[in-house]
């Protein structure tokens, strides 16, 4: 009979990078929608907005992100700010929430901390399919891109300085 050696190791808990897993953990949204796809689509469209703003505001800082919670499926956004400035950053984002059997899609440009609206657009409710959600997001983002000038003005507006 051979000798069996068993090695056991205590689990090592690490929290670093767990947020990457948390981004779409237990998403409350319809399973028919691939939220990773939706986020990628939103960000691809926000790249066009970013380019327009960069053409107008030299040195603008842009950060991409996404969040989710129990009552919202996905908020995919980019934050525009001036480095070393107290002016409230402007957030361009699309939020997806449940609305009955469908998904509500809403986009706006607004202050990160103050919540002042730079531009907002009517929300739409679409069926819970991947294509419908992505198409609604594209429509919303088209409107956001058209407001690039307003975003550029707001991100440099000293009247929007926060404490």
């Amino acid at each position: 009979m051979g000798i069996t050696t068993t090695h056991t190791f205590e689990p090592v808990f690490r929290t670093r990078y767990l947020d990457r897993l948390a981004a779409f953990r237990d998403a409350p949204g319809p399973a028919a929608v691939l939220w990773d796809d939706v986020h990628r689509n939103v960000q691809a469209n926000l790249t066009r907005l970013e380019k327009k703003v960069r053409d107008e505001v030299r040195g603008v800082r842009v950060d991409a992100g996404s969040t989710q919670g129990e009552r919202f499926i996905l908020f995919s956004y980019r934050t525009f700010s001036l480095p070393d400035s107290e002016i409230d950053p402007v957030v361009a984002g699309v939020i997806f929430t449940l609305a009955g059997d469908g998904v509500k899609v809403e986009a706006d440009l607004s202050g990160e901390q103050t919540g002042d609206y730079i531009a907002s657009f009517p929300s739409t409710i679409v069926e819970n399919s991947n294509d419908a959600v992505i198409e609604a997001a594209r429509d919303a983002l088209r409107l956001l891109c058209e407001a690039a000038g307003a975003l550029a003005a707001a991100v440099t507006d000293p009247a929007r300085i926060v404490e």
């Binding site: 947020d19 981004a23 950060d63 919670g69 957030v91 984002g93 990160e112 919540g115 404490e163």
Partner: protein, 118 residues
């Protein structure tokens, strides 16, 4: 109880600012600011404080000590029920990193109405 965090559902807006939110003032505990009122015409996130999971708690200002009526500070508490300064500072250190601290996620999960307008 319902309170509002003014502004957007971004990671940074739901993470305390080091050196600002980590410092208390007369009548006001350190922590991420929230209010029981909306700001007219502006966006906010509606939070049900009953949905806040430990160690987070919303602490109302003490107006008799110079705090502001309707202002709350959301902060982690220690086992003695006091604001845990070390945990609060550790949380604030995540702001601007692009990563989501576990307390930030607890706050996102306590949002009951996203994007309400005052």
């Amino acid at each position: 109880m319902i309170v509002y965090i003014w502004g957007n559902l971004t990671t940074d807006n739901f993470t305390p600012r080091a050196g600002k939110d980590t410092v208390g003032r007369p009548g006001q505990s350190p922590g991420l600011s929230a209010s029981d009122v909306l700001s007219a015409g502006k966006k906010a996130q509606e939070i049900d404080t009953d949905k806040l999971k430990p160690p987070l708690k919303a602490i109302a200002d003490d107006v008799t000590q110079g705090g502001t009526v309707g202002h709350f500070a959301i902060a982690p508490l220690n086992e003695k029920g006091k604001v845990d300064g070390k945990q609060l500072e550790a949380w604030a250190a995540w702001r601007g990193t692009g990563h989501i601290h576990e307390f930030t996620q607890l706050l996102f999960d306590a949002v009951v109405k996203p994007n309400v307008k005052g």
